[in-house]
C-alpha cells in the first residue's frame, strides 16, 4: 500500500511517523555503550531517511516474474530491501537525511561534514514509483547540493557559504547531536556518502556516514519521461496508473 513506497526508498522509511530508521538495530546491546579503545571519536548512532510518500526512480525496468511479484505484491521487508538495492532505487530531486552522532571522547569537535559523490550517471528513467497521496517535501535546514563541482553543506538562507566555515559542533562523551541534511539534485543520478572530520586530543579523524548496511545514499534528478510508471494500488503493492490500463499497448 502507500507504505510500500517508503519501504522502497532506502529500506528504511516510516509511514505513520514519516521517519525511517536504519542501521541502528545492530547497535543494540551492551556493546553499544562501552567506551571501546580504538573506537572512532564519534559514533553514527543512527541514520534516518525521510523520503516516505515521495517519488522514487528505478534504474532498470522490472520484468522478471520474481521482481514483479515483489513490486506488485506483498513482499517482506528483506525482499523489498533487496529489490530496491538491485534496482538502485533513488529519491527524486530531494531527500532528507537525519544523522545522530554520539561523542566517544571526553571532548571533541566536529569540524566539518561534507558530501562525497561516489558515482554519477544520467538520471534514472526506467521506472517511476509515485505514491497515490503525495507527501510533502521535507523542510530544508542544511542543504547538500550534489550538482556543485565540490558538494558541501550550506544553509538554505545562504547557499554560497559552507555551513561548517562558521560553525562547529562540540560534543562530550555520551552526548548526542542531530543533523538534518537535505540533499538535492536537478541534473544527474548520484551515489554518495558523507565524511565528517572530527578533532579530538589534537588529532583529526574522518568518520564516514552511509546509508544502512554501509550502502551509499542514492538520489536522482527527475527524468523527462519514464519507461514505466507505477502508482500505489488500493490493494497492496504497485500498479500501473488507470490511464495506462486503458491505453494498453501504449507508453504511459
Amino acid at each position: 500500500m502507500v507504505a510500500w513506497v517508503a519501504g522502497i526508498a532506502a529500506a528504511v522509511i516510516g509511514t505513520a511517523s514519516g521517519v525511517v530508521f536504519t542501521g541502528w538495530f545492530n547497535s543494540l546491546g551492551p556493546a553499544a555503550f562501552d567506551g571501546l579503545g580504538g573506537s572512532p571519536p564519534v559514533t553514527v548512532a543512527h541514520v534516518m531517511l525521510q523520503n516516505d510518500e515521495l517519488d522514487l526512480a528505478l534504474r532498470e525496468p522490472v520484468t522478471a516474474f520474481q521482481d514483479r511479484a515483489i513490486l506488485l505484491g506483498r513482499p517482506d521487508a528483506a525482499q523489498r530491501e533487496a529489490f530496491l538495492e538491485r534496482y538502485r532505487a533513488a529519491g527524486i530531486e530531494r531527500m532528507q537525511i537525519t544523522v545522530v552522532l554520539e561523542g566517544n571522547r571526553a571532548g571533541l569537535r566536529i569540524a566539518d561534514v561534507r558530501p562525497r559523490v561516489l558515482d554519477s550517471a544520467p538520471p534514472s528513467d526506467a521506472a517511476l514509483l509515485t505514491p497515490s497521496s503525495a507527501g510533502e517535501a521535507p523542510a530544508i535546514e542544511v542543504v547538500a547540493d550534489l550538482d556543485r563541482p565540490v558538494p558541501r553543506l550550506a544553509t538554505k538562507k545562504d547557499p554560497r557559504t559552507p555551513y561548517f566555515s562558521a560553525r562547529q559542533i562540540d560534543l562530550v562523551r555520551g552526548e548526542r547531536a542531530t543533523l538534518s541534511i537535505t540533499a538535492t539534485t536537478r541534473r544527474a543520478y548520484y551515489e554518495f556518502d558523507f565524511v565528517a572530520t572530527v578533532v579530538s586530543d589534537g588529532h583529526a579523524e574522518e568518520v564516514r556516514i552511509t546509508a544502512p548496511g554501509g550502502r551509499p545514499f542514492r538520489l536522482t534528478a527527475r527524468s523527462r519521461a519514464y519507461r514505466a510508471v507505477y502508482r500505489t494500488s488500493p490493494a497492496a503493492g504497485w500498479e500501473p496508473p488507470v490511464v495506462c490500463r486503458r491505453a494498453e499497448g501504449h507508453a504511459c
Binding site: A3, A16, A69
Partner: protein
C-alpha cells in the same frame, strides 16, 4: 475504529519474543498453553449514548485490587479485580469524556473533558473516596495545555508558569514550583515523586524529581542532548516523560530514549530511535519497550529490553512483535501482541496476549477468543489480565455494550506449545492452494502464486523468495502442502499462511489470500468470524456488499489510493481472507475461496 486501531498498533511497542515459550526444551514442564476467562462483566449504556466506541473512548487503572474503568461520558465503574463484581460507580461531576484514572491508596482521581474527545467541555480532576465512592474534591485544568499527575504524596498540575501542588485527600493547594515561561514542561508520576521535564528553546532539557508534598527536588539532571543549528532547535524539541511504580523515569527527546533510576542515576543508554517507547518495572526489573517505524510502518522490530535493578545492567534485549500499553503484574510483563500485517490489517485475526516472566525471560504469546481489532488490554494485576471489548451483538445498534473479561494464563505439562498457540501447524491450510487456475481464468489467466509471510517473526515460507510455479487446474504447482518449518524456538510453524497471485501483465488483477486463523473447533472459528463481521458492519469506513451467503462477507475498504475489496470467509475451523482492487473479482472469487476452503478443511475439526 479500524483505522484508529491500525494507527495505535503501528505506533505502540510491546513485549513478545518468540512463537513458543523461550525455554522450549525437550523436557516436559508446565508451560503456558492458553488464556482462560475467569470472569466477564458487561457494561451497558442507556439511551443517552455515553460512548460510541468502547475501545476508543476509555480510561482504566488496575490497582488496590480493583479495575477502575471509565467509558466516554459514563461513570467510572469500580470492579473487584478478583471476582468481577461491580463495587461502585463514580458519577461524573460534569460533562466530558474520561481521559485518565489514578488509584492510589483509598483515593481515586479521574480526569475528564478537553479536546479532542470532550471538545467544549471543561477539563477537571475529580477525586473520590475509593471504599465509599464519596466525592472528595474537584479542580480544573486548562484542557490540553496543562498536565496533571497523581502520586501517593500529592497531586501536581503543570501550568504555564507554575507546577501547582495539591493535597491528595483534601484537594487543597500545598504549594508550587516556578516553571520558566516559554519552556515545554512535561510531568509524570514516578513512584511517590513527580518527574518534571523542562525543555527550553536552545537549551539542554532538565529533568527533576519533585516531592509533591513539599515541592522540593529530590534530584535534578541536565540531559546530554544538544540540537545544533540546522535541525529542530528552532522549532523546539519533542519531549515526553514517563515514570514507573518504583520511581524510574523514561525521557523521550526527539524520538530517543533516556532512562534514569529512581535516584536519578542515568541507566545504560540504549539507542532507541522510535516514535513511541514505554517503560514499566516489576519484580525489581525494568522493561523498556519500543517499536521503531519499520520500512512499511509495520511493527517488525519492536524491542523489549530488561534491566537488572541492582546494577541496572542490561539483562536481555529482544526483538519482539508489537502493540499497545505495557503492564506489570508481580514478576510478569503483559502486553498485547501484533504478529504482523496483511492487506493493511493486523494478522492473525484473534488478539494475542504476550506474557513475559521478568526473572526468567520465559515468554508466552497466546490467543484470545476475540478479534484483535476489537480487544484492548487495559491492565494486569493479581495474576489476571483485563481485556476490554465491545459486545459484538450490540454493535451497530443505539450504543454498543462494553465487556471486561479477566483472563488467567493456564499451564499444562507438555513438551512443546502449538505454533500461534492454538492448533498444530498441519491444521493450517496452504493459502497457495485455496485458489485454482480455473478460479482465476476469468481474470485472464496465467497467474502465478507467491507465498508470503504476514508475520515477521514467522519464518519465511519455502520458496517465498523464488518463483513457485504456475497455477494449474489442480492447484498451484511448485508449492508443497503445508510446510512445517522450524520456528525460532524449534516449534513447527504453519506453512503458507498468505499467498499473492501475480498476473502475467502489470495491468492484470493481483489477488491476495491469507489464512486468518485456524481455530481448535469450527464453533470457535464461526464465533470469531461472527464477531469480526459485526465489527466490520458497524465500521463507517467499511462498505458491505451483499453476498447472500452467511459464511462469506464481501466488503470494500477505502484507502488513499482507492477502494480495496475483501472477502472474509469461514469454513470448518478456518477463517480466510481474499483481497483485490477489483469489486468484480472479489464477487467472483469470494465464494470460490469459501468452496475451496471447505474442501481443504473437510474431515478436520468438528
Amino acid at each position: 475504529m479500524l483505522s484508529a486501531r491500525g494507527v495505535a498498533a503501528s505506533l505502540a511497542a510491546a513485549l513478545a519474543v518468540c512463537l513458543a515459550p523461550a525455554s522450549d526444551s525437550a523436557d516436559a514442564t508446565r508451560r503456558a498453553v492458553g488464556w482462560e476467562a475467569v470472569w466477564s462483566v458487561t457494561l451497558t449504556q442507556g439511551s443517552d449514548r455515553l460512548w460510541r466506541d468502547p475501545v476508543g473512548e476509555y480510561a482504566a487503572e488496575v490497582s488496590q485490587g480493583v479495575v477502575a474503568l471509565g467509558l466516554g461520558r459514563g461513570p467510572v465503574v469500580v470492579i473487584d479485580a478478583g471476582t468481577g463484581r461491580i463495587r461502585s460507580r463514580m458519577r461524573p461531576e460534569g460533562s466530558g469524556n474520561v481521559r485518565r484514572i489514578w488509584v492510589t491508596g483509598d483515593t481515586l482521581v479521574v480526569q475528564r473533558g478537553a479536546a479532542p474527545s470532550g471538545f467544549g467541555a471543561p477539563a477537571y480532576l475529580a477525586a473520590y473516596d475509593l471504599p465509599t465512592a464519596a466525592p472528595l474534591w474537584v479542580t480544573y485544568v486548562a484542557g490540553d495545555e496543562e498536565f496533571a499527575e497523581v502520586t501517593p504524596r500529592g497531586v501536581a498540575i503543570a501550568r504555564p508558569s507554575r507546577l501547582d501542588l495539591y493535597d491528595l485527600r483534601r484537594g487543597t493547594a500545598t504549594g508550587g514550583v516556578p516553571v520558566r515561561p516559554g519552556c515545554a514542561t512535561r510531568v509524570a508520576a514516578a513512584g511517590a515523586a513527580v518527574a518534571v521535564l523542562s525543555g527550553c528553546p536552545g537549551e539542554a532539557p532538565r529533568l527533576s524529581a519533585i516531592d509533591p508534598a513539599t515541592g522540593r527536588a529530590r534530584w535534578q539532571r541536565v540531559l546530554p542532548y544538544t540540537t545544533p543549528p540546522g535541525d529542530r532547535a528552532g522549532k523546539g524539541m519533542e519531549t515526553a516523560v514517563q515514570g514507573t511504580a518504583d520511581g524510574s523515569v523514561l525521557v523521550r527527546v526527539n524520538q530517543t530514549s533516556l532512562l534514569y533510576a529512581p535516584d536519578g542515576r542515568p541507566l545504560p543508554g540504549v539507542l532507541s530511535p522510535a516514535p513511541e517507547a514505554r517503560v514499566v518495572t516489576t519484580g525489581r526489573v525494568l522493561a523498556h519497550s519500543f517499536a521503531p517505524a519499520s520500512p512499511d510502518g509495520r511493527p517488525e522490530a519492536a524491542v523489549t529490553q530488561a534491566f537488572d535493578p541492582g546494577g541496572r545492567g542490561l539483562l536481555r534485549t529482544r526483538r519482539t512483535g508489537a502493540s499497545g500499553p505495557l503492564f506489570a503484574d508481580g514478576r510478569t510483563f503483559v502486553a498485547m501482541d501484533v504478529m504482523g500485517w496483511t492487506q493493511g490489517l493486523t494478522w492473525p485475526l484473534p488478539a494475542h496476549l504476550t506474557s513475559v516472566d521478568a526473572v526468567t525471560g520465559e515468554t508466552a504469546d497466546l490467543p484470545l477468543p476475540v478479534p484483535h481489532a476489537m480487544a484492548e488490554l487495559v491492565g494486569a494485576g493479581g495474576g489476571l489480565a483485563f481485556v476490554l471489548d465491545p459486545v459484538p451483538e450490540t454493535l451497530g445498534g443505539d450504543g454498543p455494550a462494553a465487556r471486561v473479561t479477566a483472563y488467567r494464563l493456564m499451564r499444562e505439562e507438555r513438551p512443546r506449545a502449538a505454533p500461534l498457540g492454538a492448533v498444530e501447524a498441519s491444521r493450517w491450510p496452504d493459502a497457495c492452494r485455496l485458489l485454482t487456475a480455473a478460479d482465476l481464468a476469468p481474470l485472464g489467466g496465467g497467474h502465478r502464486a507467491f507465498p508470503r509471510t504476514p508475520a515477521p517473526r514467522l519464518p519465511r515460507p519455502l520458496g517465498a523468495a523464488d518463483t513457485t510455479g504456475t497455477a494449474s487446474a489442480t492447484g498451484t504447482t511448485g508449492t508443497s502442502g503445508t510446510a512445517r518449518m522450524p520456528g525460532r524456538a524449534g516449534a513447527a510453524a504453519p506453512g503458507h499462511v498468505a499467498c499473492d497471485w501475480i498476473p502475467p501483465a502489470d495491468d492484470g488483477t493481483v489477488v491476495f489470500v491469507s489464512v486468518e486463523w485456524a481455530a481448535p473447533s469450527a464453533r470457535e472459528a464461526r464465533e470469531l468470524f461472527a464477531a469480526e463481521t459485526a465489527r466490520l458492519k458497524a465500521d463507517a469506513g467499511v462498505r458491505v456488499l451483499p453476498s447472500g451467503r452467511p459464511d462469506v462477507l464481501l466488503h470494500g475498504l477505502g484507502t488513499p489510493a482507492g477502494t480495496q475489496f475483501h472477502a472474509l470467509v469461514v469454513a470448518g475451523p478456518v477463517v480466510a481472507r481474499l483481497m483485490t482492487r477489483s469489486e468484480a473479482a472479489v464477487r467472483l472469487l469470494g465464494p470460490r475461496l469459501r468452496d475451496n476452503l471447505r474442501a481443504a478443511t473437510a474431515g478436520g475439526a468438528p
